[in-house]
């Protein structure tokens, strides 16, 4: 009961606080924390669904109406949640360490960016492109299929590889895709190379909604579908086969799990989520170039999965949220704050911060602090924030 009151109160108070202090990062973090509390609190599930639904469908867009940046953060969180959930299938469930995951995101992004912009005219000639905006919705599926195909393409040569070897090959695959995107501007200009593609068409939006709000809802919808698909896969013979492969590949095969089919399916499913989000990403950004799909992005998504708890759906969601918010808000905010102190010439322990050499710029600590957080997490909570909880089954009484 106290939990219910607390959950409702927290969400209400923090939402109100965000409205009053629209520029305070701390207050926005409190709002996010209240959502997390509502998720873990011991409250009836109808209340949980109502609260979270209300917060994500009404409060968040309203907040975003007043502070567009928060909506941008929320949208990016959503994109990375879908990526983390996709990678979670490959790494967390099937145990196939993939260091080139962002390649599928890139494949999805380019599969809309090219026909959705005048770029395709350079390939096919004529004047038929960009495709009309409605095509965007069809290309969500095209991006899904193309990325799934790329997943199978990657899966085929690495079927016999395990562990470190697999990781190296997937790393190479990720780099190959990026380098291809970088260099396929000749002999035929497919990707426009490092200059990137722009302007990429945006989908038609109902009710004259602003694009930022529309993309937020679109991402939210896709994340909901991805979570549903993930849960259904996990609680089926397919998900169990993946986990069996992760636990003991040889025994899994001897128990009748078809290795090739299961692994390819894992790669294809994981890739398809990234593909869909790639399409959304390219339309949202209007501009993409290979710089958006670096190795560091793959590692970032992997960090989300590991930080959240490998193989756990709530873990992947939370991991993606924490890492994205850390990168976009907390660490940025921290370095801005330190910079202010420096510019104001504050003295700490008799040392004037204004004398700090440029090599020690606060902005340079961002990645370091992120690294320290990762290390501390792995030392003190290696299983992740929300580790997998084995689902206890309701067992029918045997008579």
């Amino acid at each position: 009961m106290t939990h219910a009151v607390l959950a409702v109160g927290l969400i209400g108070v923090s939402a109100w606080a965000v409205a009053v202090f629209p520029r305070s990062v701390l207050v926005f973090l409190l709002f996010q924390g209240s959502l997390l509390f509502a998720y873990v609190a011991r409250i009836p599930s109808w209340l949980r669904v109502t609260l979270l639904g209300l917060a994500l469908l009404v409060l968040m867009p309203t907040i975003g109406f007043f502070n567009g940046y928060y909506l941008e953060v929320a949208t990016q969180v959503g994109i990375f949640v879908a990526l983390a959930l996709g990678l979670n299938i490959v790494v967390g469930l099937a145990g196939l360490l993939d260091l080139g995951y962002v390649a599928f995101f890139a494949v999805g992004a380019y599969s809309w960016a090219i026909p959705g912009s005048p770029q395709a005219n350079l390939i096919f000639g004529g004047n038929a492109f960009p495709l009309s905006a409605w095509w965007f919705y069809a290309f969500l599926f095209v991006g899904l299929m193309v990325a799934a195909g790329a997943g199978i393409l990657l899966g085929l040569p690495v079927l016999r590889l395990h562990g470190d070897y697999l990781a190296i090959v997937t790393l190479g695959f990720g780099e190959v895709i990026r380098v291809l995107a970088n260099n396929l501007d000749k002999p035929i200009n497919l990707t426009n190379g490092p200059k990137g593609i722009t302007p990429i068409g945006r989908p038609p939006v109902p009710f004259g909604m602003p694009y930022s709000e529309a993309f937020y809802f679109l991402v939210l919808l896709i994340v909901a579908v991805v979570i549903l698909v993930n849960r259904r896969l996990e609680n089926s013979h397919i998900g169990r086969a993946w986990e069996a492969i992760r636990e003991d590949e040889l025994a899994a095969q001897a128990m009748g799990v078809p290795l090739v089919r299961s692994k390819l399916l894992a790669f294809a499913c994981g890739a398809s989520f990234a593909g869909v989000m790639g399409v959304v990403f390219s339309a949202k950004q209007i501009f993409i170039n290979p710089e958006s799909f670096t190795f560091l992005e793959s590692i970032g998504v992997l960090a989300m999965v590991i930080l959240g708890g490998m193989g756990s759906i709530p873990g992947a969601v939370l991991g993606a949220t924490v890492v994205t918010v850390l990168n976009l808000q907390v660490l940025k905010g921290l370095s801005l704050w330190l910079n202010e102190l420096k510019n104001a010439g504050v003295t700490v322990l008799g040392y004037n911060l204004a004398d700090l050499p440029t090599q020690l710029e606060p902005a340079k600590y961002e990645r370091m602090i992120f690294g320290v957080i990762l290390i501390l997490m792995m030392i003190f909570r290696p299983q992740g924030i929300f580790p997998v909880r084995r689902r206890a089954r309701e067992l029918a009484k045997q008579v």
């Binding site: 698909v229 259904r232 896969l233 609680n235 089926s236 013979h237 397919i238 169990r240 086969a241 986990e243 069996a244 636990e247 003991d248 040889l250 025994a251 899994a252 095969q253 001897a254 128990m255 009748g256 799990v257 078809p258 290795l259 399916l265 084995r390 689902r391 206890a392 089954r393 067992l395 029918a396 045997q398």
Partner: protein, 263 residues
């Protein structure tokens, strides 16, 4: 229908070492044991029967269907399943999930059934769970269904491996030292369970076993491997008194201390 299982002239070489030399083996029903000193090639034979290894020469058929060249999961689908000498459970999954994985070849659902969650899917999942519980019950692990396999005691893990193998509805079961690490009492109970399975389901079982008391008690036939060769086969009593078998186990008189062999 008898599960006619036949191996003819199975030969396997690892580099210069001949692990199996033209081994013949046949079984219709009942329990047949394979014994032999360490490194005799017993587990290698199992690995060939279940498709984990290829054979260099020979033929293996099950109900007239050739097995060599098939993948392990295809062989499991045909009704042959096994347990492992060094228990290979899915350690971080629960007992019932382990058994459910064993049923994988008997699930006739596609990706779309899973995603759409149609009534067919839910009914099938329900049936699978009920059968898995029944199998756990059968091996005496009904109370541990939701326990993570890693946390089960050793003997329970062996029995869970048996339940998992039974999940694939085999007609031929290959058990690799199922009583290793069990007390004599536990071993006896397991053998009664195996006997029951043979009697009720018409299962054929091939047993690799070091516990001679168990072997002599439970087997209909015994085959003896030594250095990759089958040196004797027949009813337990006959094999027990076979001169070559005694030699393989104890060494010949005058040849010094008993030979010890390592794999």
């Amino acid at each position: 229908m008898p599960a006619r299982f036949e191996a003819l002239g199975v030969t396997k070489r690892f580099g210069g070492l001949t692990a199996l030399a033209a081994v013949d083996f046949a079984l219709d029903t009942g329990i047949s044991s394979i014994i032999g000193p360490n490194g005799a090639g017993k587990t290698t034979l199992f690995n060939i029967f279940t498709g984990l290894y290829g054979a260099d020469e020979g033929r293996v058929t099950f109900r007239g269907q050739p097995l060599l060249g098939l993948r392990p999961d295809q062989i499991t689908a045909l009704g042959i399943c096994r347990t492992f000498q060094n228990i290979r459970l899915f350690a971080n999954m629960t007992a019932i999930e382990n058994v459910l994985v064993g049923m994988n070849t008997r699930v006739a659902l596609g990706l779309w059934d899973v995603l759409s969650h149609r009534r067919r899917f839910r009914r099938t999942e329900g049936e699978l769970a009920a059968r898995a519980v029944a199998l756990l019950d059968r091996v005496g692990l009904q109370a541990n269904a939701n326990d993570v396999a890693r946390n089960l005691p050793y003997g329970d893990q062996r029995r869970l491996e048996l339940a998992r193998a039974l999940g694939s509805e085999p007609t031929l079961l290959l058990l690799d030292e199922p009583t290793a690490g069990m007390t004599q009492g536990e071993a006896g109970a397991l053998m009664r369970l195996l006997r029951g399975l043979v009697a009720e389901l018409g299962l054929a079982i091939i047993l690799i076993e070091h516990n001679m008391r168990v072997v002599m008690e439970v087997s209909d036939r015994v085959a003896v491997l030594d250095h990759g060769e089958k040196i004797a086969e027949g009813p337990p009593r006959e094999v027990q008194s076979n001169a070559r078998v005694i030699e393989a186990y104890l060494g010949t008189r005058g040849s010094g201390p008993a030979r010890t062999r390592r794999a």
